[in-house]
Amino acid sequence: MTRAVTVLATGPQVLVQDLGRPGNAHLGVPPSGALDPPSLALANRLVGNPGGAAGLEVLLGGLVLRAETSCSVAVTGPATPALVNGVPRDSPLHLAPGDVLALGTPVGGLRCYVALSGGVDVPAELGSRSADLLSGLGPPPLAPGDVLPLGTPTGVPVGVDVLVPVRVPDVLVVPVLLGPRDDWFTDPAGQLRAGRWTVSDRGNRVGVRLTGTALEREPGRVGRELPSEGLVTGAVQVPADGAPVVFLADHPTTGGYPVIGVVPPGALPLLGQAPPGTPLVFAPGTPA
């Protein structure tokens, strides 16, 4: 029998994600991949998969799966109740054929990651199985009735005593390295240091939108636009209204608004987990 799981229900959004498809930005293709790569990699390790195997990124819980085969499962990220046939279980856990896994609502973050032994074996596009909602690459969001093929397990699940869940702090302090267009702003470091923001509910995998202090441009730059230029993940782009957007994995590959600074990769997973309403401050610095 082929190894597979069947999706019985989803919450707001369940996506297949691996570590993405970097290296294609010159073709207009975003890097994509898990917004919280350490959590996906941990889940994969726990079930004996290579770190880059495809798993599920589950936004705000609600996923219900039925195992069609015997498999190991790990759920990582924020603390998320996991029930097997209605009984609460800790990760990693084992499913026998017919067992039903249901995820509750995560606490302290938005996205949990589910790794299944063998990995989700949907066809790769440009070397990745990640769903890229901006450009329509990879599998569409999962829906009830979907059958997900699993690959052949290559490793042994890792036993653990305790998993430390991800938890977004009460105030998120986000480092940002000035540039490339900090010179478009009056006292960019001072404005970033003094400003106060909250995570808006209009964010998605493209970017985290922030409401709060409007960043002011140098008088000579007001009303002007940049010719389109390449964007990195973590770029803090400031549209004309001054409300910053921090770009995440599905960001457009080029843009025409000035980027005041860039959030380093290590600080991005928590941004991808920050619920709407999270207070946020920036800690500006200069690249080494």
């Binding site: 073709l27 207009g28 293709v29 329509g136």
Partner: protein, 201 residues
């Protein structure tokens, strides 16, 4: 040439013209630096992103680049068949003070080069557009531009690989396979390629 830092692992190389962008992009591509992850030309910049620790080699390679001198590269030529049946063909002709047939002759007679891609996978900004066809975007963008539309805006012409919203002026359509992620080379057009449009009647 000016280098602008872009976080820990990237630098934005700023130059003055699309020709200089192509010179920098081609030189860095030819240098084939192992730690470069992304090399993204755009209108007046080239973004170079590396694995951690890779920026030193990029700076060293850039020190030897003359942006006035375009590297001799073996660039592929792509021919795109076009039916000049776009809904804005008459508007483009009127704006240019030409007949629609003259617009077709101008657009299909010119040689283009892919300056950069962006906006959507496989969407290539082509430079080389004849002066009379360099026209503003529509006052109000369409909510859906059909896949395969051939369009002009500003100094660029392009073909839409997928149906998206868009404000460019549409002069024709093509069946060319502009983007297919299952192909070994998913995008028909990549930076540096030369492009011609061929009239299909």
């Amino acid at each position: 040439m000016r280098l602008r830092r872009c976080g820990t692992n990237a630098v934005l190389v700023e130059v003055d013209s699309p020709g200089e962008v192509e010179a920098v992009r081609a030189a860095l591509a030819a240098a084939d630096l192992p730690d470069v992850v992304e090399l993204v030309p755009a209108a007046r910049t080239v973004l170079v992103e590396t694995r951690p620790g890779g920026l030193g080699a990029v700076r060293a390679a850039l020190a030897g680049v003359d942006p006035d001198h375009r590297a001799a590269t073996t660039s592929r030529e792509v021919v795109i068949p076009v039916r000049y049946d776009g809904p804005d063909l008459d508007l483009v002709a009127e704006t240019a003070g030409l007949t629609p047939d003259e617009v077709v002759d101008l657009h299909s007679g010119a040689g283009y080069r892919v300056a950069f891609c962006g906006f959507a996978p496989g969407f290539a900004y082509l430079v080389g557009l004849p002066g009379p066809l360099r026209q503003p975007r529509l006052d109000s963008p369409r909510t859906r531009v059909p896949v395969g539309s051939v369009a002009v805006a500003g100094e660029y012409t392009a073909a839409y690989p997928r149906a998206t919203p868009g404000g460019w002026r549409l002069i024709g359509s093509t069946d060319a396979p502009l983007f297919d992620p299952r192909r070994p080379e998913p995008a028909l057009l990549a930076p540096g390629h030369r492009v011609r449009f061929e009239v299909v009647r």
